[in-house]
Assembly symmetry: none
Homo-oligomer: 214 residues x 4
Amino acid sequence: VSPRHRPPTGSASERPATHPSGSGLRERRKAQTRRTIQEHALRLFLSKGYDATTVAEIASAADVSHMTFFRYFPSKEAVVESDDYDPLLVGLIENRPSEEGPLSALRNAVADGLSRIYATDRDALLVRTRLILHTPALRARMGTNLVATEDLFAAALAARLHSDVTLEIRVIAAAALATLTTALTAWVDGDGLEDLPSLVDDAFDVLTHLAAEG
Amino acid sequence: VSPRHRPPTGSASERPATHPSGSGLRERRKAQTRRTIQEHALRLFLSKGYDATTVAEIASAADVSHMTFFRYFPSKEAVVESDDYDPLLVGLIENRPSEEGPLSALRNAVADGLSRIYATDRDALLVRTRLILHTPALRARMGTNLVATEDLFAAALAARLHSDVTLEIRVIAAAALATLTTALTAWVDGDGLEDLPSLVDDAFDVLTHLAAEG
Amino acid sequence: VSPRHRPPTGSASERPATHPSGSGLRERRKAQTRRTIQEHALRLFLSKGYDATTVAEIASAADVSHMTFFRYFPSKEAVVESDDYDPLLVGLIENRPSEEGPLSALRNAVADGLSRIYATDRDALLVRTRLILHTPALRARMGTNLVATEDLFAAALAARLHSDVTLEIRVIAAAALATLTTALTAWVDGDGLEDLPSLVDDAFDVLTHLAAEG
Amino acid sequence: VSPRHRPPTGSASERPATHPSGSGLRERRKAQTRRTIQEHALRLFLSKGYDATTVAEIASAADVSHMTFFRYFPSKEAVVESDDYDPLLVGLIENRPSEEGPLSALRNAVADGLSRIYATDRDALLVRTRLILHTPALRARMGTNLVATEDLFAAALAARLHSDVTLEIRVIAAAALATLTTALTAWVDGDGLEDLPSLVDDAFDVLTHLAAEG
DNA sequence: ACATGCGGGACTGCCCGTTCAT
DNA sequence: ATGAACGGGCAGTCCCGCATGT
């Protein structure tokens, strides 16, 4: 969650409007390079540890120059943190039926988005989350990233309600994100043996029943 | 919230067994020194900025040696992060009447603890929170500290229920802490003009009514 | 011992379902490529030294691209460390007759596996072990790899006993692996002139008679 | 286990023979400085993580210069690895009654030495061991350090037997050290809640009964 | 007075991240 | 878009001037 760097897809003005995103040969090559770099990086982090792996090694493994690495990722940390989940989730939140309350919309959007991610990127998600939780340098940045994601969620909820970002909306976004993070933490603590969507579902059950339980 | 450093309370052998912790002259002097250092540090941070203030300046302002500073705080960051709120809150959580549910216990303990803190340390709390939120080096450490506090809250709730730390307990602790943090952030963003206990109360109202709002 | 990288066996969709793993033409070609790269790498390491040999040289000697090298090995170190002995040994341990005690099963599995390896890969094993013991960058990684192998051994023993991984099982696995490593070290120190299976046998004799010797 | 750096106590030849080690004011001050540096370093490693802590911070916390740090410890890693246990244990091994077999002598010496260490340095030992096992940079060096300790143990056993260092002696030393390491690992995995001497005792019980269990 | 440890500043080498020229 | 060169930070080293215990 929370990518802070738009990869070189060409700025919106250059991209011919006739082609949907990801069609051009160049774009596909770039996405491929990006994936290649990330895969090699995660494999090396897993094998040697995050700090012990240098950017030069990653670049050499992915057969690109030191510089090209930084063209695709603004920092070494970003290669672990980077995903495209935030815009996906924001889109899902905004497209939820308008009769759903804020928390239901958030929960359903997260469940929906996560099931897609889980189906295709399960292993990468596990490795990345484990690294983020176990590496001091990354865990430190997590706080900042979560705040950014929280702001996005709050803004998406406010848009649904045609409202400003109130304290109420911020609390809902913060609580939901804390719930999601708790489920993710439990998942990696169990070495990924449990089913993440179920954990997330259980966690949100707790949240939605808070009033009753008191 | 979340001190990670036990100040020099004197080893068990020095402490007179007849007096409960905190009574002896030595202990009071040490607590006084600690407070003095922290006050001077916050004053200097406020006037010169965090990064521009060196440990040597703080020590000389508090009229102690560089070494004594580090006997009370493990690092320059700790002087801002360190407070005794965690044990206070944990104690309040555990002493809530046993018929209260986990969230009610947490909310009431936080409201109670915060009203005490607010009455005596309002200005220091505002300065410290503002520094933590606005100083990169401190904001980075915030994530780790929040996780530690969350674990303490979860453990306190588990103790109340004579239970292990389950996913449910962790979700409640995480959501409550996220709620508290949201209120604190709103308070600082409003420059401390609003009433913090009211903000916290409003925020917890949102959390406890989540099921209804959906 | 202890490969940490699954070579490209082809994704599930490419592999013809009719053939068990290892039979298809593609798989055989890939295993062949992998072996070719490793052989050229070891030859170059032996003649020029590990550090003085670059990945580019290995790739060009094996007549593959730089990128292909990293598709088969995650790093330059892995080309020395990587072998398929761990799964072989784990399989042998689990298939030992169930009346054998843990240490006997381990010892017999190791003796069996090693005699096969020794018959076909003796020279490569000698070169690789010598490199690992004499190259600082590789010796450093040895510790981590041994821990991983130890965990696999312990898990295999636990599976045989339908038990959890207890302290007892871990001690047996650790002691057996230390014994094996000692024999390997003695073998390399004697420049491979002595017979490795005999050394291993002698070493395990010492281990199994520890109670008597006191 | 396994210190590699003698702090500046003055070499044995320079030190006036009339004074027992540690008598002069200078020596005591140096030992004190060394302890101070180590304590601050461990506290900072615990609070911020090993890699995120710089030598400059440690030095500043201990109120010494960057340079003085390196006078006392040859590297940042050494401040975690360094202890005086190896000579202690070697001495205990050599002074065991000569009728004890090699393994009994090793086991009793380790149990004896460990109980002393445990009584006075339990917390530091826990922190240091945890750091070594959980920090890639330190875990990597562990292998090398263990080999060095193993050689010392083997040499001490050989001296007791007025023998050369044979394969048998090396196997015994390696197995005993693997056993000790397994107990230490189990100890930190349990967060230090169990009793280390008991764990070590249990682990050696397994080792001495290997022949019977087979 | 002498020896020795300590601090300051500068230097190497490695690594992250950026800029510039092509 | 790539390569080469650069700035900044950190680990680790060296030399020299200074203070302190013996």
